[in-house]
């Protein structure tokens, strides 16, 4: 940042307020307010503590939950896969030994760590939040600096409540205007990733700004920030505003009464200053974004639903051309074909990207009065026990079950297939998750990323299609 400019960005302010010490070469010891822990990336970290005789510095700033491995079917039965069971039991042993607050599998509040944190008021604006999971960026929707870390860093945070890092660069992505009907936060984010690419945000923290972002509810902002990592960014941020405060107020672990008012005053001061310097600026027009899906094996392989799959002959770089060909072969698609109309075998609505109550409502609005197409397996996996309970309170479970969907328990599920929810080789899935990598949802599975409304539309028609056509019919 130029020294002549004392204006600071949202990122700069949160960063500055958490620097314990700046070391000689510019590396900072950065204090961490919240450390979220799950069963997959923590066992080796706890083992490291044990081997070196170290304790957890701030168990009262640490919260654990199981999500990646858990079955989303009947929870009254024991976990069948022995390795999954071992990982969950290992977490339970570790939280007991080190005194860490924990949401167990059969807790009514258990769920995906990035759904549970905000929902419980554990994640709050202005905080630094880490977790051994790249989609920790989700919590940036609250106006907190939240990023994923590796297991060595998990151990470092457990032992010291700090992390060693140099400041990131600032990027601002502004989406101005109003989105059209049927266009969601997911479509906005896919459009952004399509524009800047999966490495576009490398080394940066992205602040999402502009009127279309302000108009999003908290669930939408979480979807957006969740996929910051798919744009290569360290984290995503939305400045905390009245929408944020209304969301936070009254959550179990949020400050109460006077403490809440004082916190709001601080949180209001965090917005980027007028004239603050951004290393990179990108602007999109909301009106130009239409419902989108991915066609390939990288989240940047985005198409508007009326678009056609690219051809290797469209690009000059031979390495890039080979990559397109490989993606086409993997996905079982022909160069130049229309993406709309592609038949699907499976529909997955869930994951830390799109499993909140608002997401389920959007899907239910499309499904109501319709039925899952013949031969399609469609599943709804709520993000948490509380989301599931609230959805059932609104009768959404009935909408989905009547239409032929599976209504499951909370967990990461088919986003990454660590539990039994997996694609079989060659199966094609419309998925509300975040990654369409080769094998992500199961070996040789084919993933098309899209919004909950678009996934619901695919479920009832049996093919990728423009949700706006279905919604028009209903109106």
């Amino acid at each position: 940042m130029p020294v002549t400019n004392s204006s600071r960005t949202l990122f700069d302010k949160i960063w500055d307020d958490h620097v314990v010490e700046r070391l000689e070469d510019g590396t900072c010891i950065l204090y961490i307010d919240r450390h979220l822990v799950h069963e997959v990336t923590s066992p080796q970290a706890f083992e490291g503590l044990r081997l070196s005789g170290r304790r957890v510095r701030r168990p009262d700033a640490t919260v654990a939950v199981v999500d990646h491995n858990v079955p989303t079917s009947d929870r009254s039965k024991p976990i069948e896969e022995p390795q999954s069971r071992l990982q969950i039991e290992t977490l339970e042993k570790n939280v007991a030994e080190f005194g860490i607050p924990y949401f167990p599998l059969r807790s009514a509040s258990q769920g995906i760590v990035h759904v549970v944190g905000p929902e419980q008021g554990i994640s709050l604006p202005g905080m630094t939040i880490v977790c051994g999971d790249s989609h920790t960026s989700t919590h940036g929707a609250l106006g907190s600096l939240a990023f994923g870390i590796g297991t060595s860093e998990v151990e470092h945070v457990l032992a010291t409540q700090t992390i060693l890092q140099k400041p990131a660069k600032n990027m601002r992505v502004s989406v101005e205007g109003k989105v059209g009907p049927g266009v969601t936060a997911k479509d906005i984010m896919l459009a952004i990733i399509g524009r800047i690419g999966t490495a576009g945000g490398t080394g940066h923290v992205i602040e999402f700004a502009g009127s279309a972002i302000r108009d999003l509810d908290m669930a939408g902002r979480m979807t957006l920030c969740n996929m910051s990592i798919e744009a290569g960014a360290r984290a995503g941020l939305v400045a905390p505003d009245e929408t944020t405060f209304a969301y936070v107020k009254g959550r179990p672990f949020a400050p109460k009464d006077e403490a809440f008012e004082q916190a709001c005053e601080y949180w209001r001061s965090l917005a980027s200053d007028e004239g603050a310097y951004f290393d990179t600026e990108v602007t999109l027009a909301a009106e130009e974004i239409i419902p989108s899906v991915t066609w390939g094996t990288s989240p940047q392989d985005v198409l508007p639903i009326d678009g056609s799959v690219p051809s290797p002959s469209d690009v000059a770089d031979p390495a890039r051309a080979a990559q397109i060909q490989r993606a086409l072969d993997y996905m079982g698609l022909e160069a130049g074909q229309k993406i709309a109309g592609t038949p699907v075998d499976v529909v997955f609505i869930g994951s830390c990207t799109n499993s909140r109550l608002e997401d389920l409502r959007a899907a239910a609005d499309v499904v109501r009065g319709r039925h899952v197409a013949e031969g399609v397996r469609a599943m709804i996996v709520p993000g948490s026990g509380l989301v599931k309970h609230a959805a059932e309170g609104e009768g959404l479970d009935k909408v989905f079950l009547d239409a032929g969907f599976e209504w499951r328990e909370a967990g990461c599920s088919m986003c990454l297939g660590m539990n039994p929810d997996r694609l079989t080789p060659g199966q094609r899935c419309a998925s509300t998750s975040n990654r369409n990598f080769e094998g992500r949802q199961g070996p040789e599975g084919r993933t098309h990323l899209c919004s909950p409304a678009m996934a619901a539309a695919a479920a009832v028609t049996g093919r990728l299609c423009d949700v706006r056509e279905l919604v028009k019919e209903t109106v």
Partner: protein, 208 residues
């Protein structure tokens, strides 16, 4: 962590962009509670067929690359998941150095924590090094962290940049937790700043 000082080794060319950590180690192998033993599952989808047999066209199934200790790829190596199982799998396979035009942030960081040196170099230089690598076992590269150079088989040296702090940690094989714990007084003093009074504690027993 093992020190990294100088490495002379076979390099495997993988001329692909966006090699994600799901490719390096698919999620179904993340159920371990150990750091070791993941080498046999590195790049599993590309390395083995459905019956577990090696696919002969995959570079790490070919001689001499099954003994590679250096990996050269194209842009954005290690994108996606933060899983440290990715560098653990590479390390367990035998990889100590990865070279690419660019890296994803978390993977880049995770490499250093495990004694793997990630070196960003321009695409054109990566192409030249890949050409060297394609010549097989008579064509080893030397990576000298002390001097910050790569020595090509023809004797040409290619300088590279590395963060001084991280270089120091690798050369000495140091554990950064111990280093940070030496700043305990500063961390404690930070925790007691009045401006932080709003940050709530989470008491065990309140989470259910």
């Amino acid at each position: 962590m093992d020190k990294f000082t100088e490495l002379t080794a076979i390099a495997a060319p993988m001329p692909t962009e966006n090699i994600d950590t799901d490719q390096i180690i698919p999620a179904r192998f993340l159920k371990t509670i150990q750091r070791t033993g993941l080498g046999k599952s590195a790049f599993a989808a590309q390395r083995y067929d459905a019956d577990g047999n090696e696919k002969p066209d995959f570079v790490l199934n070919q001689d001499p690359y099954r003994h590679a200790e250096i990996l050269i790829t194209y842009d954005n190596l290690g994108c996606g998941s933060s899983r440290e199982h990715a560098p653990w799998a590479l390390l367990d396979f035998g990889i100590r150095c990865v070279i690419a035009p660019s890296f994803a942030d978390i993977f880049f960081n995770n490499c250093f924590k495990n004694g793997i040196l990630p070196i960003p170099l321009p695409r054109q230089i990566c192409d030249e090094l890949m050409d060297d690598a394609r010549q097989g076992s008579n064509s080893r590269l030397t990576v000298d962290l002390e001097r910050q150079v790569i020595v090509r088989p023809n004797g040409e040296t290619i300088p590279f940049e590395v963060d001084p702090f991280r270089r120091h940690m690798l050369l000495e094989g140091l554990d950064d937790i111990g280093q940070t714990m030496a700043h305990d007084a500063e961390i404690s003093s930070f925790e007691h700043r009045p401006a932080r009074a709003w940050v709530p504690s989470i008491t065990i027993g309140t989470v259910k």
